[in-house]
Symmetry: C2
Subunit: 125 residues, 2 copies
Amino acid sequence: MSSKRCAVCKYFRRRCPPDCIFSPYFPPNNPQRFTCVHRIYGASNIGKMLEELNVEDRVIAIETLCYEASCRIQDPVYGCVGLIPWLEHELNITQTQLAKTRAKISFVHANYVARGEPFIQQSGV
Amino acid sequence: MSSKRCAVCKYFRRRCPPDCIFSPYFPPNNPQRFTCVHRIYGASNIGKMLEELNVEDRVIAIETLCYEASCRIQDPVYGCVGLIPWLEHELNITQTQLAKTRAKISFVHANYVARGEPFIQQSGV
């Protein structure tokens, strides 16, 4: 039985019951995965969060919790939240450039129309 | 003293010491802020995370922890991580549109050059 204990039960040096809530998500061959989320949330909080979820949602929830925990360990100040304003900023810059570039095309188009010339559309763009 | 207890000490019905690690970040007038992070991380883990940080980094760390906790309560499966792939997807779409629109401008520009006409640059775009 001992060799089949999940990473959580192995960490706490306890028997891993057949209905262990952690075992599907924390295999024994990846103990680091659990120590990471345990350090940030604590096993008890993770257990509570799992219990509140439908079984089919638990895999994704554990994935996102592991991701948030590893980000928080790498960056204890911003965690994964640091990525969100950075992406929003990049998106804003790109949207502004796109709007300006489209305005430039409209300007060129209007020039063509004013001269009575056809505006050649490049296919696929 | 009782009325000046921070939200954390108030929650645990204990005296709030002058050097309380939580009091600068959890004022008594916003108890919800603490209950939210406490539900996800637990007060003990938050205290440990604060102790590991420089004092000047703690305000931002608590802000990001509160944000992550509120996202996790709103969306127990994805938490704030759900926003990251969505923003990355939006950024990819916008970058692709920008590249196509720029290619269109290059095509129009090349047309002007081929005809020996000057390409009129619209100011500011």
